[in-house]
Amino acid sequence: MASRSPSKADKRPPRTHRRNDVAWRTPTSRSILIAAASAVAALVLAACGSGSAGGGASGKPTGKLTFVTFAPFSGPDAAFGASKVAGIIPAIYAIDHGGGILGDTKVGWMESDSRGDPADAVPIAQKLLLTTPSMVGIIGPTSDESTATVPIFNAAHIPTFALTGQIAFNRNTYPYFWRITPPDNDVGLAMAMYAHARGYTSAAMVFGTDIGATGAVPSLLKAWQHLGGKVVANESLPLDQSSYQSEAAKVAAAHPQVIFFEADAQTSATYLSELNQMHGLVPFIGTDGTTVPSWTGPVAKAVGQATFDKYYVGAQPYAPTSGPSFDAWKAAFNAVRSQEPKPASQWLDSSFAFAGYDGAIIMALAMDAAKSTNTKVFNAFVPKVTSASPGAVKVYSYAAGRRALAQGKQIQYVGATGVIAFDQYHNSPGGFEIINSKFNFITAYTAAQIGALSVASGATNVG
C-alpha cells in the first residue's frame, strides 16, 4: 500500500491546553492541592460556626476550672446539646455566686460538639482532652456517642455525668462514669404501667431504629406482657424516610388501642401525620425522647395541635417542680435566663436541664468535700455528697452545701432531679412521670414501683 503524504491534520500541533479539551490529563499536583485546600477551608469554616458545628469547642470563656458539655450541637440530634447547656449555665452561676469552689475558685463552661456520631465523637473527645487542661468534669455524653467516648474520658480520669439511658450502662464498671437519669428500660416500664392503668389491652410498638429509641423496647415488651397486654404490631422505623405509609398501614390494620412510640422529630412527624391522615390516630405514649419542645413542636404542627393534645402523653424522669431544690434551681435559672437557649421558658421545668444542673453542682460539692480539684481525688467524693448517711445534713443548693462542708459537716445534696442515690454501678434510679402535650403532670411512678415491676416481669435481666 502506498504511503500517503501527511495531511494538514497530521501537521497540527498536539491537542493540549485547549478550551473544552476533554482528554484525560493526569492529575497535577496543583489540582490536588486546590482540592485539598478547599476541603480544609470547608472544615475550618464549619468548625467556626457559632453552634460549634463541625466538632469544634466553643462557648463562654472559661474560668480557672472548666466543665464541658459534650453532646451533639449539630446534625440530626442538634437539639440535645441545647438541653445540656440549659442546665449547666445556671449551675455555673450558682457555683460562682455561692462562693466558688474551695472558697475562691470560679468555674466556667464550654460546649464541645460531638456531632452525635461515634465516628466523629472519638477524635473530638481526644482533642478535647489534649486542648482543655482546665477541664474537671463533663456533662454528657448522650446516647449517640456515650459507648464510644465514656471509655476515653474514663481513661483520662475525667468524671462524666452522662445523659444517656443506654442499658449498656446499667451494670457500669467505669469508675468515673455517673448517671442520674434513669435507664431507658425504666421508661418502658413506666409506659406499660400507665397504659395498663388506663385500661388498654392491645398495643402497637413503633420505634425508630436509632440507639436511643430502641433502649426502652425490651423492658416495655416484657412489662406490658406481664401486665396482660397484647402486642398487635411491632414496627421499626428506619429514620428520616420520605414516607412511612406502608408502616402506618400495617399498624392501622392491627387496630391497636394505644401506640408506644419513639423516633426522632422528623421521622415522627412524617409517620404520625401519614397515620393520622390515612387512618386516624389513636392514643400514643412517647418515651422521654419525645418530651422535649423540639419534638412536640414539629409533631404537633404535623398532625394538628388539637389532635396532638387529644392523643399524646409522654413519660419522662420525674423531677419535682416545687420544694427547696426547685426553688434553688429556679433562682439560678432566672438570674441567667437571658443566656439560656431560646426560648428559655422551655427549660424551667425540664428534667433534662435539671440533670445537667445537678451534675455540675455535685461535682463542685465533691471538690469542696475532697478539698481538691484533682479529678482522681474528688471523684470518690461524688457519692459521699449525695448519700443519706447518718448525720448528713440535707442541702438543696451549692451555697448551702459549701457552707455545711466548710463547717465540717457531712452533706446529702438533694438536687433538682430529686434525691440522688448511686448504686454500685454509679447509677441513681429515679421515678417517672407521665405528662400531657402541655408538659403538665398527669401521674407519677416511684423508683420502688418501677423496680418492683422490673423484677416481676423479668425486665431486670434486660441490659
Binding site: 476533554v22 484525560w24 464549619a46 431504629t209 406502608s246 398501614a249 412527624a269 393520622n276 390515612m278 404542627k301
Partner: protein, 294 residues
C-alpha cells in the same frame, strides 16, 4: 393482593419525590460529569427559603416556585463562580467530588447557623385521606405525584423536542464533538445547571412536604437514594432516572409492607447492586468513551 396494590401505590409517592430529584441529578452529572455531592444540601436550602415564603402567609404553590428558582440560581452560581474555576485549573473528577463535598458541608452548616437545630414544618392544610382503590393517599401526596408527572413530562418534551434539549444531550454524549458541531457547550452547561438546579430546588420543597418536618440535614440524608436511582437508570439518562425512581420507590415500599421496614433500604440498594453487576452502565446507560469535564 390488597397489600401489594397498596404498597405499589405508596411506592409511587416515594418514587415521585425520588424521580424529580434524580432527574435533576443525572442531568447535572450527565452534561457536566461532576458528581455533585452538594445536591442534597441545595435541596435543603431551597426548602428553607420555601419555608420562609410559606411562613410569611403565602401558599405552598409559591413555595414550590420560589424553591425551584432558588435551587436553579444557587446551582448556576455554584457552577459559574466556583466549580468552573476549579475545572479551569485542571481539577479532575476526584478533586471535584471533594470540592462538592466541601460545598455540601458549608451549605449545611450555614443553614444550621442561620436557622438553628430546630425542626421546621410547612403550613399545610390537614385533611383526611383520599381512597384510590385499596390505597389511601393524602391530598399532599396526590399533589406531589401530580407535580412529578408534570415535571417529568416537561423534562421529556424539553430534552427531545427543543433545541436546547438536543444540545444538552449532545454535550452529555460528547462535548468536544458537540462543540465542533457548533454547540456553545459553555452555555449549554450553564443551562444544564440552571434547569437541574430548578429540579433540585423543586425536589427539596416536595421532599419536605412529604416528610412534614425538616432540618439542615434532611436533603443530604436523601442524597444516597437520589444517586442510587440516577446510577440505576444510567448516568445522564433522564428517562432512566424516572424509571429507576419508580423501581426503587416500589421495591422499598413492598419490602416495608411485607417485612421489617428496616430491610427496605437493603432491598433498594440490593437491586442497584444486582443491576449494575448485570449492566454496569445502568438500565438505560449508553456505552461511553472517555469522558472528561466539559
Amino acid at each position: 393482593m390488597n397489600t401489594l396494590v397498596q404498597a405499589i401505590g405508596f411506592g409511587l409517592v416515594s418514587a415521585a419525590i425520588i424521580a424529580v430529584a434524580a432527574v435533576g441529578f443525572t442531568m447535572q452529572f450527565g452534561v457536566t460529569n461532576i458528581l455533585n455531592l452538594a445536591y442534597g444540601d441545595v435541596m435543603t436550602a431551597s426548602a428553607y427559603i420555601g419555608y420562609l415564603v410559606n411562613n410569611a402567609g403565602l401558599s405552598i404553590a409559591y413555595s414550590l416556585v420560589v424553591g425551584a428558582v432558588v435551587g436553579g440560581a444557587l446551582s448556576l452560581a455554584l457552577n459559574r463562580y466556583l466549580f468552573r474555576r476549579y475545572i479551569r485549573h485542571g481539577t479532575q473528577l476526584f478533586g471535584m467530588i471533594v470540592v462538592t463535598l466541601s460545598v455540601a458541608v458549608i451549605i449545611q452548616n450555614i443553614l444550621l447557623v442561620s436557622f438553628g437545630p430546630s425542626f421546621f414544618v410547612y403550613r399545610i392544610p390537614l385533611g383526611g385521606g383520599i381512597k384510590l382503590g385499596p390505597a389511601r393517599f393524602s391530598g399532599v401526596q396526590l399533589v406531589i405525584m401530580a407535580i412529578a408527572v408534570v415535571t417529568m413530562a416537561l423534562v421529556h418534551v424539553g430534552l427531545t423536542r427543543t433545541r436546547l434539549g438536543k444540545c444538552m444531550r449532545a454535550t452529555a454524549c460528547d462535548a468536544v464533538l458537540a462543540q465542533t458541531c457548533g454547540v456553545f457547550t459553555d452555555r449549554v452547561v450553564d443551562a444544564a445547571w440552571l434547569l437541574s438546579g430548578m429540579l433540585c430546588g423543586l425536589a427539596g420543597v416536595v421532599l419536605v412536604l412529604s416528610t412534614t418536618a425538616f432540618q439542615s440535614t434532611t436533603g443530604s440524608e436523601f442524597l444516597i437514594l437520589i444517586v442510587a436511582a440516577a446510577m440505576l437508570g444510567g448516568v445522564g439518562q433522564a428517562h432512566g432516572a424516572m424509571i429507576a425512581a419508580v423501581i426503587v420507590g416500589v421495591i422499598t415500599s413492598i419490602t416495608a409492607a411485607y417485612s421489617n421496614p428496616s430491610y427496605q433500604d437493603i432491598a433498594g440498594f440490593g437491586v442497584l447492586v444486582i443491576v449494575l453487576l448485570w449492566r454496569p452502565r445502568g438500565l438505560f446507560g449508553k456505552v461511553e468513551g472517555e469522558r472528561g469535564i466539559p
